[in-house]
């Protein structure tokens, strides 16, 4: 198990389009203490995904920087785990084949690879499914595999972008508990992006609220409620109310400022990728 | 007055009815590309011999091989054609088309050619070598087999492949093949180009062997006998002209083959132009083709009956 590290986001800025005046991120700063879970909450379209991609090293900021431990983030790497809403499992590989993918790339010999991968599958409560193919398992199970896959390479930081948003409420709750259980063991520093207030207060050690564009940190709340937490308990309810009010205010501000359309989700990240991924999907 | 008008008009009508039809008879002609054996057809066109016989001859097809020309006969695309005796007999025997041979176009005029620097001197030395023919069941295929047989070789002793005559010289030059057999002027062309040397001319394989014939599509032979006779007369005239006027013949040959004068003149010397068609050689072709396995029909007389109209298309059509 790797040693927990601190993640610092310092004054990160990002323009809407290359050379555009309009900014999505207008100087975001926050710190996730080592081994903690930081939830990032914000209205849709405020640039949460862009922010996370910058932290992951998939995009470069126009201003500011991200530091993990003592190193500035300069590009994607296995130590910065990244899980998206759509599980990106390789459909032609089995569950086991997917989980050991990163280990394969690192050149780990087969025996050890298998053992580590099976361990992580057990961790996410998928023991026995190692021989299945992605098309044979449910959405929730796929996300568990994605989680196991990221954790198998022992990342220092784990980023999750609304990973459970496409799942039904029961599955979502179950997966939140699996995540918490796993993180208890690994103590990885986590940044968890969501638009779901319930999820944010249930999971996070702290919640960072984003404003509308140009996005900045609008509110920072610590959740000093010991785990296991009662989802419908009074402490979480109070927090929930506070956050919902803040979000509503931001939405109103945005509408008044005529930024209605800024609340639309940004174009698919793939089309605006820079760096390694030249060329878009269209011909 | 009325009676003289009636008399005059009747006379005019009678005169009109009695005057001979001035319109010429149309015939669609086919021949092989750059085949000097078919010189009589070209001369007939150039010197107007067909026109003189009241025929309007239109060149409806220039073919790469006799089998192609037989297909044209089968689809009634041509009325009369110059082509090899072998492919035409094969086609008739295999019931591919209804065709009647009426005259000869030429005799001899092919040769087996080897590389200019080759040590081969005799046919029997071709054993184990690769020899190209223009096509199966062609006159050249036939001649090659006869030459091999005469030299005591089995058919399988030589590797036979098909190459189109224009490509034969290149293939010989680059040693893809060791020898080829083709109709003039391809054989002479190899010599004048310095690429090849004649191993044996066809006149030595089978002396006086008939080569190409003048054939008519079955229904034309049956329905238009007058036209057939007219054409044969013109053909005989053209044949005689070639024998008497070498220079002009050479000029026409150059015009239609596109080859140089020296080659055409030399090649002409190897060809015998003759128009009398005889039965015996046809029977010979038929039985040999059956032996080679190209035709199913094994009764040469049956083939002969289909091939040459006994009613006597084959007249002595001297001009």
């Amino acid at each position: 198990m790797a040693v927990s590290v601190e993640l610092r986001v310092e004054g990160v800025e990002k323009a809407f389009d290359a050379g555009s005046e309009r900014r999505i991120l207008g100087g975001v700063s926050f710190t996730a203490p080592a081994g903690s879970i930081l939830c990032v909450l914000g209205p849709s379209g405020c640039g949460k995904t862009t922010l996370l991609r910058i932290i992951a090293g998939l995009e470069t900021p126009d201003g500011g920087r991200v530091t993990i431990g003592d190193r500035v983030v300069a590009g994607p790497a296995p130590e910065i785990g990244y899980i998206t809403q759509e599980p990106t499992l390789l459909p032609w590989r089995t569950v086991l084949g997917n989980v050991e993918l990163g280990l394969e790339f690192a050149g780990v010999p087969r025996e050890k690879r298998h053992a580590t991968a099976l361990q992580h599958l057990e961790l996410v409560e998928l023991a026995g499914f190692d021989g299945y193919h992605p098309k044979q398992i449910s959405g929730g199970m796929k996300q568990k595999v994605a989680l196991a896959r990221s954790l198998a390479v022992e990342p220092r930081v784990l980023l999750l972008d609304e990973p459970f948003a496409a799942l039904d409420a029961q599955t979502r709750n179950a997966l939140q508990e699996v995540l918490l259980h796993v993180l208890e063991r690994t103590r990885t520093t986590v940044v968890f992006v969501t638009h779901n207030v319930d999820e944010a207060v249930f999971l996070g050690d702290a919640v960072v609220c984003m404003t509308a564009q140009p996005t900045r940190v609008g509110k920072f709340v610590e959740v000093n409620v010991p785990r296991p937490r009662d989802r419908t308990g009074p402490e979480l309810n109070a927090l929930r109310k506070e956050l919902l009010v803040f979000l509503a205010e931001e939405r109103l501000k945005a509408r008044l400022a005529g930024q209605e359309n800024s609340l639309l989700p940004p174009p698919p990240a793939a089309a605006r990728s820079v760096g390694m991924f030249d060329g878009s999907r269209g011909q | 007055m009325k009676r003289s008008v009636v008399l005059l008009s009747s006379l005019v009508l009678l005169a009109a009815a009695a005057s001979p039809a001035a319109a010429a008879e149309k015939l669609r002609l086919g021949y092989l590309r750059s085949d000097l054996h078919h010189l009589a057809a070209w001369v007939g066109i150039e010197k107007g011999f067909f026109r003189d016989e009241g025929l309007e001859v239109e060149v409806a097809g220039i073919f790469n091989a006799g089998a192609e020309e037989m297909s044209a006969f089968a689809s009634k695309g041509i009325d009369v054609g110059y082509l090899g005796m072998a492919p035409s007999v094969t086609g008739v025997a295999n019931k591919a088309a209804s065709v009647k041979a009426a005259a000869l176009a030429n005799a001899e005029g092919s040769a087996i050619v080897v590389r200019a620097d080759s040590p081969l001197r005799q046919v029997k030395e071709l054993a184990g070598k690769t020899v190209a023919i223009p096509g199966y069941a062609s006159v050249q295929d036939f001649l090659l087999h006869r030459a091999l047989e005469a030299a005591g070789l089995e058919a399988g002793a030589v590797k036979i492949i098909v190459v189109k005559p224009p490509e034969m010289i290149t293939a010989l030059e680059s040693s893809q093949i060791d020898a080829f057999i083709a109709w003039e002027p391809h054989a002479t062309k190899a010599v004048t180009k310095g690429v090849g040397r004649v191993l044996i001319p066809s006149s030595q394989i089978w002396q006086g062997h008939p080569c190409c014939v003048v054939a008519f599509e079955g229904s034309v032979a049956h329905d238009r006998p007058v036209v057939v006779q007219a054409f044969l007369r013109a053909h005989a005239k053209a044949t005689a002209f070639i024998l008497a006027n070498t220079d002009e013949a050479v000029r026409t040959g150059v015009q239609y083959t596109g080859m140089d004068e020296k080659t055409v003149r030399m090649a002409l010397g190897n060809i015998t132009y003759r128009s009398e068609l005889e039965r015996a050689p046809v029977r010979e072709y038929a039985s040999y083709l059956a032996r080679l396995g190209y035709i199913k029909e094994t009764d040469p007389d049956a083939i002969l009956r289909d091939y040459i109209d006994p009613a006597g298309l084959v007249k002595d059509a001297r001009p």
């Binding site: 785990g81 990106t88 896959r149 390479v153 | 089998a67 199966y136 098909v162 190209y294």
Partner: protein, 257 residues
């Protein structure tokens, strides 16, 4: 199981019906036998192709083997060149732009138009036939590979990069398997085109004297229409067989879909 057997019979039915109609038309003299030989003649011709061979002495099996050899050679060469090239082109739009004019200029030229050049360069042996087939097979495989790579979810590629994939890892473990469904389609098309091109390529003469196109050309020379059609039947059957095999292989390879 009876469901599948019934389905098979249902497909066979129309073929049999057409054959019977064809036979009847021929027997009634409506379709002249020398233009389109009826099925009985064709089967007879096929029998002779098998027993005696055409040209006499050259076995049908020998012809099939020679033609198949050339197709596998040409398609194999196309696979070896087009797949790696396609994977590279799929990844880099810069390369695609560079290569685009060459591809779009050469692609429309029918492989058969290359025959004279091929014979000049490679002679009349197997190599020129293989070259012609290579040209026919190359473009379907190349274009399908590029499409295959472009159709891979970008998220998959990003995940692989995040997990530490090297360029080589990416090509071998993500792009190639991801593009395989499209590549298989390309292979099916390529084999079909290659097989069709082959026969025509063999018309121009073939040094070994073996090949199905060469056999048909011989049948044409000796004006045996029944053997021409019998030869065509053999070509069609083999082509169908190859396509079926590829489809089975495709299904097995792509079970994960």
């Amino acid at each position: 199981m009876s469901g599948r057997r019934w389905h098979f019979l249902l497909q066979l039915g129309p073929l049999v019906a057409v054959a019977l109609l064809w036979e009847a038309l021929g027997a009634a003299g409506i379709v002249p036998e020398n233009r389109l030989p009826p099925p009985t003649h064709v089967l007879g011709g096929l029998g002779e192709l098998i027993s005696r061979g055409l040209p006499p002495g050259s076995s049908l099996l020998g012809h099939c083997a020679a033609s198949l050899r050339r197709v596998f050679g040409g398609v194999g060469a196309a696979l070896a060149v087009a797949i790696p090239l396609g994977l590279l082109l799929g990844r880099s739009s810069r390369l695609r732009t560079l290569v685009h004019p060459f591809v779009e200029l050469t692609r429309p030229i029918p492989p058969l138009a290359w025959v004279p050049l091929a014979i000049l360069w490679f002679g009349i042996g197997d190599l020129s036939a293989v070259f012609i087939i290579f040209l026919g097979a190359f473009f379907p495989i190349l274009l399908n590979t590029v499409t295959g790579v472009l159709s891979i979810d970008r998220g998959l590629i990003e995940s692989a990069v995040i997990l530490g994939a090297s360029k080589r890892d990416l090509f071998l473990k993500v792009l190639a398997p991801g593009a395989t469904p499209a590549i298989m389609t390309g292979v099916r098309i390529a084999v079909g085109v290659g097989w069709m091109t082959l026969v025509a390529a063999e018309f121009t003469g073939v040094k070994s004297g073996y090949g199905l196109g060469y056999m048909i050309m011989t049948a044409r020379d000796i004006q045996r229409a029944d053997q021409i059609v019998a030869g065509m039947l053999v070509i069609g059957l083999i082509g169908f067989g190859m396509d079926s095999l590829i489809r089975i292989g495709e299904r097995r390879l792509l079970q994960w879909r």
